[in-house]
């Protein structure tokens, strides 16, 4: 290519002032971000934050309303098919062909990319193995479990050996075991150097998978960094959760003051932010407070989100 050897690796995705409007409603409000090759990049935020709209613009299926966006160095406005040829897309809602078998779903999808039948079949063999679906390859899709369908959707998205894999809420609606299996597969992809871009409203998913993420709220990016950086910047090392009977919690005013660096009252519990959670628990006990349960834990991205927006991720 034409770049000088010393130039930094160009971003796979570059967004500046990226905006999506539906009529007068602003779904994505002038956001900036870059995604570097090989990284796992996340959009964390509650439902309705603008994550899916952003993903659809990156996926070159929804026109950019305003601002600049380049994906793989191409302009989605004019080079949509060329971008889509090099993407793998795992949509929020399954779009599998339920009348076909697992294998047929993979092979046909490869055909949409113009791959030969032989190549499609070869890739299907590899991907069935990767998705742990080889034994189910000749079964129809409909009776598969939710976790298997998601794995098939991910396998299908990889059929064209994409430069970039987009995953919109990849584990929403799955049971914990299925989620862990899926995370393991995504982790393997990451190890192989596949660039992942995902949206999630699960902070554990973001922590597990993302090298770097942006927190989105109400169409804007409110923070950016690695999960650890965000926690260090916006929260304390530990959190002490005190759960009181509802009427007791209402009459607490003042009694908690000074116990921690920061105090958040949720509907069903009080969160005390400090670097030493045990010490806070002891201090609370010494003040004569009698919570029904006490839990000391490490800070998570959930706490970061609460700090930034005053709300929980899952409402």
């Amino acid at each position: 290519m034409q770049e000088e050897p010393t130039a930094p690796e160009p971003a796979l995705i570059r967004a500046r002032g990226l905006t999506k409007r539906f009529g007068s409603f602003v779904a994505v409000d002038a956001i900036d971000f870059d995604v570097a090759p090989g990284e796992a990049f996340g959009f964390l935020g509650p439902n309705g934050a603008g994550k899916t709209s952003t993903m659809r613009m990156i996926g070159a299926v929804s026109p950019v309303s305003d601002g600049d966006l380049t994906v793989l160095g191409l302009d989605p406005r004019t080079q949509g098919p060329a971008i889509r040829a090099r993407l793998g897309v795992v949509p929020q809602q399954d779009t599998l062909d339920t009348e076909l078998t697992v294998r047929e779903n993979l092979v046909l999808y490869g055909r949409y990319f113009g791959m030969s039948r032989d190549e499609c079949n070869r890739r299907a063999d590899e991907l069935l193995d990767f998705a742990q679906l080889t034994e189910r390859q000749n079964d129809e899709v409909e009776p598969l479990s939710g976790g298997m369908k998601r794995r098939l959707t991910i396998a299908r998205a990889l059929i064209n050996q994409p430069d970039l894999l987009l995953l919109d809420e990849p584990t929403t609606g799955l049971d914990p075991q299925a989620r862990h299996l899926l995370w393991d597969r995504l982790y393997r992809l990451k190890q192989r150097g596949v660039t992942l871009v995902l949206t999630t409203h699960y902070m554990d998913e973001a922590e597990q998978l993302c090298d770097r993420l942006v927190v989105m709220d109400k169409a804007k990016i409110v923070a950016e960094g690695s999960p650890r950086e965000l926690i260090e910047r916006y929260s304390t090392r530990e959190v002490t959760e005190l759960r009181f009977a509802p009427d007791v919690q209402d009459r607490l005013d003042g009694k908690l003051d000074g116990l921690a660096e920061r105090i958040e009252r949720l509907a069903d519990r009080v969160l005390l932010y400090a670097d030493d959670g045990e010490a806070v628990a002891v201090a609370a006990h010494e003040r004569g407070l009698e919570p029904e349960t006490v839990l000391v834990r490490r800070s998570t991205l959930e706490d970061v989100f609460l700090r930034l927006t005053g709300r929980s991720l899952i409402e």
């Binding site: 659809r56 996926g59 399954d94 779009t95 599998l96 949409y112 299908r156």
Partner: protein
């Protein structure tokens, strides 16, 4: 073209899994109709002498019209449920749109597949006509392209409508107040000259009448009697296909972009 053919391929693979039942019914339906109407009813009609239908037996009169009308019904069905299924239920059109395929490839590929299906149904139907001895001449095979064209004149605009729907609720209206009356009153079972004058005028507006009249013309070899009328049929049907296909492309694109 290459991209469009991949959409056709997908539909063909899906069809291969379910063709047994539909192949059977596309054979049984003409057998039943030609037996009941052609032989049963036709037996009475023919007693009135052959002059009423211009020297044809009722079966010979009925067969080309019924071929075209049957393909119309099948086309209307193919342009409803598979389209909203792809956009709303299984969302396979959204899956295709995430690849280099364009909304236009998806729309025209699906319409092309409907044309393939209509050709299959028309071919089976024509074979049954021949089995019944109702073929007037080898020209009977020309009924197949006319039936496909007429079917597409229904499929294309109906597919455009289906692209705007999220549920099948309104399809009943199409079938009950559109397809069924047209099936009965477009000259399939009797010449439209038998209808009261105002209803005749309505029949002229029916795309099916254009198809039935053109089909009868080419199959019975009478096309030379009224060449301009036949040409007009061809133009009307082709124009509906072109406009309907364009509208389907635009509306599917609109729907896919919205997500």
């Amino acid at each position: 073209m290459a991209a469009l053919s991949r959409v056709v391929e997908q539909r063909a693979v899906v069809y291969r899994r379910t063709f047994r039942s539909s192949a059977f019914s596309s054979f049984v339906s003409p057998v039943l109709f030609l037996t009941a109407m052609g032989l049963g009813l036709g037996g009475y009609v023919n007693r009135g002498g052959a002059t009423a239908l211009g020297g044809l037996s009722y079966l010979e009169f009925l067969a080309p019209g019924l071929l075209v009308a049957t393909v119309m019904q099948a086309a209307a069905f193919e342009a409803t449920f598979p389209i909203i299924g792809g956009l709303n239920w299984q969302r396979t059109f959204h899956a295709m749109y995430a690849t280099p395929l364009s909304p236009r490839d998806i729309a025209l590929g699906n319409l092309a597949w409907i044309a393939v299906r209509m050709a299959m149904i028309a071919t089976v139907f024509t074979a049954v006509i021949v089995l019944f001895g109702a073929a007037h001449s080898p020209l009977v095979v020309l009924g197949i392209p006319v039936a496909v064209l007429t079917g597409m004149a229904f499929a294309a605009p109906i597919a455009a409508f289906s692209s705007t729907q999220r549920t099948p609720n309104r399809f009943n209206v199409i079938f009950r107040f559109g397809i069924t009356p047209l099936f009965l009153f477009s000259g399939t079972f009797f010449p439209i000259e038998s209808l009261p004058a105002p209803l005749q005028a309505v029949a002229w507006l029916s795309p099916l009448w254009h198809g039935v009249d053109l089909g009868r013309g080419v199959v019975l070899g009478t096309i030379g009697d009224q060449p301009l009328v036949m040409l007009a049929h061809l133009v009307v049907l082709s124009a509906i296909v072109v406009v309907g296909s364009w509208a389907t492309s635009r509306l599917i694109e609109k729907r896919l972009v919205r997500g």
